[in-house]
Symmetry: C2
Subunit: 390 residues, 2 copies
C-alpha cells in the first residue's frame, strides 16, 4: 500500500486550516470525510465513519415531518430572544428560562465564553479535551494552561493534585473539563466535582463543564443539580450529537442569569436558524428516543469494549459516552500511520487523537455504530493485528 | 384607541434586549412580530409586515425540493472550509474562492469584522446605517463615530466634507457605509466610492460596504469590480433577504484573501448549517428569479413611491432597494406614535426609525410588498391623513 501520509510531521499545528485537509490522519476534528475522500479516491458513500461522535440511530421520527416542511420555518427572521425555544429547553432540563443561552451549535457558545472572563485572566483546560476551547480562548488572547490527565489512571481527575496546581495560578479565570469527556469518554466523579466547584466558587473561577455527551451517559449524572448554588458553574450542551443532526447547528448552555446576559451581549442576533428552533422544540419532547438511544449505545458499547479488550495489541479505556478510546501498544509513529491507513483504504475512518493535548498518535477514538458496522470493524481489526503479529 | 406606548421614552437604549420586546414601535429591528402581537392581542397571521426587508415574492422554486428533503443535509457536520459552497458563490460573483468568507447570515461576518481592525483604532459609521455594525464594534471595544447624512440632500454622501472629517481622526481603522443603504435606500455614487477608496487605501483603513441589498438594485452597481485593486475593501452580502429565507442564515463577504484568513481565524467552525449550504449552492444558479424580482420590485416601488408622494403630510425619499423611507412632516413624538399605532391596530407593522442614528421617530421604513398589500397600505394611509387633516 502506498503511504500517503508517511512524510507528514505529526504534531504540526493542527488547528490551522491550511494544509490539513489533505492529511486524513491529521484532520483537526472527526466527522469530516473530505480529507479521506481526497486521500483515497473513494467517495463519501464508500466510508464508514467511526471518527464522528453522533447517534448511530439517526434522527428521531419526530424530525422527519418538520424537515419535510422546513421551508415553513425559513421565511421569517428567528425570534432574536429565542423565547419559545428557551422555554421548552429550560422546562426539559428543569431550570428557569433566564438560565439558558442558545447557540448556533454548542461551538458558538464556546466562542462566547471568553467574554465572561476578565481581561488578564487565564484558563486551565483539563486535557485531553475538545480542542475548540483552547482555540476560542487563544483567539480572545486568554492564556491557556493544560492539566493533563493520566491514561494509566483511566484519565480520572486527581482532584487534590489538581487543586494544588490551581493554587499556583493567581490569575485563573476559568477551568474547562468534559463530562463525559471527549475523547476519553469518562464522567467526572461527583465528589471530585463538588470539591472543585467549592474551590471555584471561593475564588470566583468559572467552572465550565462540557456536557455535550451527557445524554448518551445519563441525564442524572449531569451537574445541573448544582447549578442553583454554583454561581460560576457553566454547563455546555449539544442538541445535535445525540439527535444525529450535526448539520442543523443547535446547542445551549446553562448558567447563572447574570452570565447569560453577559454572554448574550456579545452574541450576534439571529444565530439560531429557524429550522433549528422548530426541530429543537420537538426534540426535547421525545423521551422514547432518548431511552432507545441509551439502551442501544450501552449494548453496542459493551459489545465493542469486550471485543476490543481481547486484542492484546491495544489498551481500551472505559467510556460513559458513545465512543471508545483505545491505544496501540508497543507503537511508534510509523505503526500508527500504518494502522490508520490500513482502515482508511478499506473505507473505515478512525479518529486519530494525535492533536489532542495529552495524547499522541497511538490513541484512536472509535464511535459506537450499529452492530453490523461494529462487527465489521472488529473483524478487520482482528485480521489486522493477526497479520502484523503473524 | 388605547395608546399602549404613549408613555414610552423614545430614544431609550434600543439595542438592549430587556424591555424592548413589549414596545412594538421601539423594536430594535424590523421583521420581529412578537412585540406587535403582544401589544395588540392579534396573531402573527393577522399582520402585514411592512417592517421586514425581504423579497415579497417568497423563496424561488428551486428551494422547495431541497427543503422537502432537508433532513438529507443535516446528518453530517458541515465542511468546516465551506469549499464547495465558496466555489459556487465565488464563481457567481466573479472572484477566486479565497476572496470569500461565508457566514451564519451576514450578521456573523459583521461581528467578525472587528478582528481585522488593530487594537486602539476606531471606526466611523456613515449613518443612518444597519445598527449591528455599531453593536459589533462596541462589543469589541472599538470606539465608534458617526458621520450623519443629511435628509435634505437625500442622504447622499458629501465625499469632500466626509474626507475632511476623516482627516481629524488619526486612529481610524474602518469605515462602514451601506449601498444601497439601510434604511435610506440610496446607492453610494461611483465617484464618491472611488475617492473614498483611494483615501482608505492610502491610509490603510478598511472600507466596509454593506451590499446586503445590492441584488434588489443591480449587481452591476456593486463595487466588486474594484475588489482586486482595493486591498482594504470589504463587501458584505446577504443571501437570505433577496431569496426570502431569513430563517436560513446565510451570508458572505468578499475581501482580500489575507483578510479572509484573519477573519476566519476567529470564526467558530461549522457556523454555516448544512441546509444553508445546500440551498445556497442552488440559489446562485437561479438567474431567472433574480430578474423577476428586480422587475417586480422596480414596478411596485415606483407604484408606492408615486402614490406616497401624493400625500402632502409626508416626505418620501428615493430608493434603490426593496424598501422606501418616508418622514412625517410637521410631526411631533405623539403624532408619530399615533400614526404607528393606527396602523398597528389595523394589522400593519411599520418600521419606525427612531433607533437609527441620524433619524428620529418621524421616519418610517416601508417594505415593498405585493400590489394588493401596497394598495391596502396606501388606502389606509390616505384615509389616515385625510381624517387627521379633516
Amino acid at each position: 500500500m502506498k503511504s500517503l501520509i508517511n512524510t507528514l510531521p505529526l504534531g504540526t499545528e493542527l488547528n490551522e486550516k491550511e494544509g490539513v485537509q489533505n492529511h486524513p490522519m491529521l484532520a483537526p476534528h472527526g466527522g469530516n470525510l473530505t480529507p479521506a475522500t481526497l486521500a483515497t479516491g473513494l467517495t463519501r458513500q464508500d466510508f464508514l465513519d467511526f471518527s464522528v461522535n453522533i447517534n448511530p440511530l439517526g434522527p428521531p421520527d419526530c424530525v422527519q415531518d418538520i424537515c419535510s416542511r422546513s421551508i415553513d420555518f425559513l421565511g421569517e427572521y428567528p425570534d432574536p430572544d429565542y423565547g419559545e425555544l428557551k422555554k421548552v429547553v429550560a422546562d426539559a432540563v428543569g431550570v428557569s428560562t433566564d438560565w439558558i443561552a442558545m447557540g448556533n451549535g454548542s461551538t458558538e457558545l464556546i466562542y462566547l465564553l471568553p467574554h465572561l472572563i476578565a481581561p488578564g485572566k487565564e484558563a486551565v483546560i483539563v486535557s485531553p479535551c475538545f480542542s475548540e476551547y483552547e482555540r476560542a480562548f487563544r483567539q480572545a488572547d486568554i492564556s491557556v494552561r493544560h492539566f493533563t490527565l493520566d491514561p494509566s489512571d483511566n484519565f480520572n481527575l486527581p482532584v487534590d493534585q489538581f487543586l494544588f496546581q490551581l493554587r499556583q495560578y493567581p490569575d485563573l479565570g476559568g477551568i474547562v473539563i468534559g463530562s463525559p469527556n471527549n475523547p476519553t469518554g469518562n464522567l467526572l466523579a461527583e465528589d471530585a466535582f463538588r470539591t472543585l466547584s467549592v474551590y471555584c466558587e471561593k475564588r470566583g473561577i468559572f467552572l465550565i463543564v462540557d456536557e455535550t455527551f451527557i445524554d448518551f451517559a445519563s441525564p442524572q449524572r449531569s451537574f445541573i443539580k448544582h447549578i442553583a448554588t454554583a454561581r460560576h458553574l457553566i454547563l455546555i450542551r449539544s442538541m445535535t450529537k445525540f439527535y444525529s443532526l450535526p448539520g442543523l447547528r443547535l446547542g445551549f448552555a446553562i448558567m447563572n442569569p447574570e452570565s447569560v446576559r453577559k454572554l448574550e451581549a456579545h452574541q450576534p442576533p439571529w444565530s439560531v436558524n429557524g429550522l433549528a428552533k422548530a426541530i429543537g422544540m420537538a426534540l426535547v419532547m421525545d423521551k422514547k428516543y432518548c431511552e432507545q438511544t441509551r439502551y442501544f449505545i450501552q449494548r453496542e458499547k459493551n459489545f465493542l469494549y469486550e471485543n476490543l479488550q481481547k486484542i492484546s495489541a491495544i489498551e481500551v479505556f472505559p467510556s460513559d459516552a458513545n465512543f471508545i478510546l483505545f491505544r496501540l501498544l508497543a507503537e511508534n509513529e510509523d505503526k500508527a500511520k500504518h494502522f490508520f491507513e490500513a482502515f482508511l483504504f478499506q473505507g473505515i475512518v478512525l479518529r486519530n487523537c494525535a492533536n489532542f493535548v495529552g495524547l499522541d498518535h497511538s490513541f484512536f477514538r472509535l464511535a459506537v455504530r450499529s452492530r453490523k458496522d461494529n462487527r465489521l470493524f472488529l473483524s478487520k481489526a482482528g485480521k489486522y493485528f493477526h497479520s502484523i503479529s503473524g
